[in-house]
Amino acid sequence: MISSKLKERRDQFLKKLSECAQDAEALLVLGKSCFLSSWYREAIEAYKKCIALENRNDAAYYNLGVAYQALGKHREARNAFLKALEINPNHGASQEALNNLAAY
C-alpha cells in the first residue's frame, strides 16, 4: 500500500521535474512545493538540479540545507548553509540556521 503510494508520488515528481528541467526558478519552486509536502528527498533533488543550472543561487543552497535538516542530515545541511553564506555573506536565514545547528 505504502510502496504503491511512494511510486505514484515519485512518478508525479519526475514528470514535474522534466517539465522544468532547464528553468532554475521553476526548479526552486518545485523544490519548495516538495518540501511543503514533506517530500524531502525530492526537494533535495530539485534544489540540486537548480544549483547545477545556477551555481551561485544562495536561496537554492539555503533551501537545500533546510531539506537536509528535515532528514536529520546535519553535516550536509551545514555545508549547504555555509555555501549560501559564501555566495551571500548577508544571507540572514542561513546564518540563523547555522547558529541553530551549532546549538543542536
Binding site: K32, F35, L36, Y40, Y62, V66, A70, A93
Partner: protein, 227 residues
C-alpha cells in the same frame, strides 16, 4: 503567577531568569554587581543589587514569599553555602543550588538543598553520550534502570505505523511522543522547519524519516534502539 528568585546573575543564573521571565513568571534577580543587575533590569520583573549573604537585605526584598529560589553564585562556594543555609532557615519551599565541585555538592546536600544541579558534570555526561550514540538526542532517568530517551527511529520502522512497527514486541519499549519538523514557508518564501510534538501518538501514526521518537523503557531494551 508563579514567583521565583534567582541569586547570581552569571551565565547560568541569567539563563534561568530569562527563561522563567519569557514563560511569564515573576522573577526577582539578585546580584552584588551593579552592572549585571542593570543589564537584566528590563528582562526580569525586579533586578536588585545586594549582598545575598546578608539575611536582613534578603528579607527586605521579600524573598520569603517566592515559590522557589535558584542559587547560582559562581565560583564563591562559601557564599553559595551561606545563602543556601539562610534560605532554608527562612523556610523557602524549594531551593535549587548550582554546585561547582563534588565537595560543594555534598555540603549542599547536607544543608537540605532541595535540588542540586551540577551543570558541568551533567553536560559532560550528555556530551559523552551524544558522541557515543549520535542518534540519541536526549535522555532522562525516570527510575533506576529505566530511562526516557529521544532518538532517531531505526530504519526498519520508518514509513510504518506504530502498530505495524510493533515497537513494544520488537524492542520492549513504548513510544510516548513523536517530535516532527513541520515544513513551512516564511513571509520571504524561505523554507523553514517548525517543531511539532505528538504526545501519546495513536497506533495508526506513521513514523517518518527525520522524526525523533521519545521512548520509555529499561536500559537494556533501550540499548536495542541505539544505532
Amino acid at each position: 503567577m508563579k514567583q521565583f528568585a534567582v541569586i547570581g546573575a552569571g551565565l547560568f543564573g541569567t539563563s534561568v531568569a530569562r527563561t522563567l521571565s519569557e514563560e511569564g513568571c515573576d522573577v526577582l534577580l539578585i546580584d552584588s554587581n551593579e552592572e549585571r543587575v542593570r543589564d537584566m533590569d528590563e528582562v526580569v520583573s525586579q533586578s536588585v543589587q545586594l549582598d545575598a549573604t546578608d539575611e536582613k537585605a534578603l528579607k527586605s526584598v521579600g524573598i520569603a514569599d517566592v515559590d522557589a529560589v535558584v542559587v547560582s553564585v559562581g565560583k564563591d562556594m562559601e557564599a553559595s553555602i551561606l545563602v543556601t543555609m539562610l534560605l532554608k532557615e527562612m523556610g523557602i519551599k524549594w531551593v535549587v543550588v548550582k554546585a561547582i565541585s563534588e565537595a560543594h555538592y555534598k555540603i549542599l546536600a547536607r544543608l537540605g538543598a532541595d535540588r542540586i544541579v551540577f551543570p558541568e558534570r551533567e553536560m559532560g555526561v550528555k556530551v559523552a553520550n551524544s558522541l557515543l550514540h549520535p542518534t540519541i538526542f536526549d535522555y532522562l532517568e525516570v527510575a533506576p534502570g529505566y530511562n526516557i530517551i529521544e532518538t532517531e527511529p531505526p530504519p526498519e520502522i520508518i514509513d510504518k505505523s506504530i502498530e505495524e512497527a510493533r515497537v513494544r514486541s520488537r524492542y520492549g519499549v513504548d513510544i510516548i511522543a513523536i517530535k516532527r519538523k513541520r515544513p513551512v514557508l516564511d513571509s520571504s518564501g524561505n523554507s523553514k522547519l517548525e517543531d511539532e510534538v505528538t504526545i501519546v501518538p495513536q497506533a495508526d501514526e506513521i513514523i517518518r524519516e527525520g522524526d525523533a521518537i521519545v521512548v520509555i523503557g529499561s536500559e537494556a531494551n533501550l540499548e536495542k534502539l541505539k544505532l
